[in-house]
Amino acid sequence: MGVSLNQMAIELTVPEDFDLECMCGLIETDENERVKTMGKLVEAYRRPLFAFVRNKFPSYSAEDAEDIVQNVFITLWQKVAGADFDDNGSLRSLLFTIALRQGVDELRRRKALKRSDDEMAELVAKSLDDTAVARAWKRAAESKDQASEIMSSFRDFVSCLPDQQKLVAEAMYVNASDIDDNSALVRHIRERTGKVVTTMMVKGAKQALIEKFRQLLKNKGLLV
């Protein structure tokens, strides 16, 4: 029996026991069997993993996402070769967890991961203050799915932006505590890419990002 997890966007249509069969195939003594299984696994999962990386790390280029997904499969291969995986767990969960880890490692490598979860949450809480946006966000957060959906939609928006605007989003994230200092954002982009962008461009891109977030809140009926 086939299971289609999504027929609207990214399809992962695989037989019901596909993951278990793949785990069995990957640990086979016959190398040809292992390689064949890996081919099937790559074919089935490369698109969903790519979409996942694009969504979770929207400031990365499509090439970066391609590299990360390719490395996910190499890591899995190595884990199997080293008998370093939980055969009682879910292969799907393992693949997406490796993708998340690799994405975060890349953020660290770029020195773009500057805050812990708590620090980021605290910074947001301070900035929200007693505003209409804060009240809207509180309502969204009451239903965890709604808040996650808004964040995910926003990341999708960022992932499709031209590179320069994407860099502004990344700069806003990295300089979250100093977000109004446009020259700091310009500096971040210059240090990251060696390219000089104007304050005007940064200002415009920032405004577009803010406007998009506001629109997402409005679309959910959370903000007037």
């Binding site: 640990i27 996402a65 190595q78 995910s152 979250a176």
Partner: protein, 121 residues
């Protein structure tokens, strides 16, 4: 109230923009439920993205991943280790016979557990 002109509202939105890019719970496992939920809501890929997906492959003969080493943006797992993992080439990274025997013992145990899991499904 005109929201675009209120600096406090702008500040709140900027903070949410920054937070959207933060990988919360990055050390946690991505559960199967989260994966399925993501797949149910994710956007379709653009043709450009699709062309990148098509380049992701598993070619045991050529290890097509080697081509990626031309792009330095993402840290690479060394080709040497990849070859070692694929048992294609003897390298310094290859485990000694004792370690290899231990690994094979563990793999055999996993094989056996998976065989039972398959039988019981």
């Amino acid at each position: 109230m005109n929201l675009p002109e209120d600096p406090r509202e702008e500040k709140a939105l900027k903070a949410l923009v920054a937070a959207a890019l933060h990988p919360f719970d990055a050390d946690a496992e991505v559960s199967e439920e989260e994966v399925n939920m993501f797949l149910a809501t994710c956007r379709p890929l653009t043709p450009e993205e699709e062309s990148h997906v098509q380049r992701i492959s598993w070619n045991s003969q050529k290890l097509s991943v080697a081509a990626r080493t031309t792009r330095p943006s993402v840290p690479r797992i060394s080709t040497r280790t990849e070859f070692a993992a694929m048992h294609r080439e003897k390298t310094d990274a290859e485990p000694d016979p004792k370690t290899e025997a231990e690994l094979e013992r563990k793999r055999a145990e996993i094989r056996e557990r998976l065989r039972k899991r398959r039988e019981n499904r």
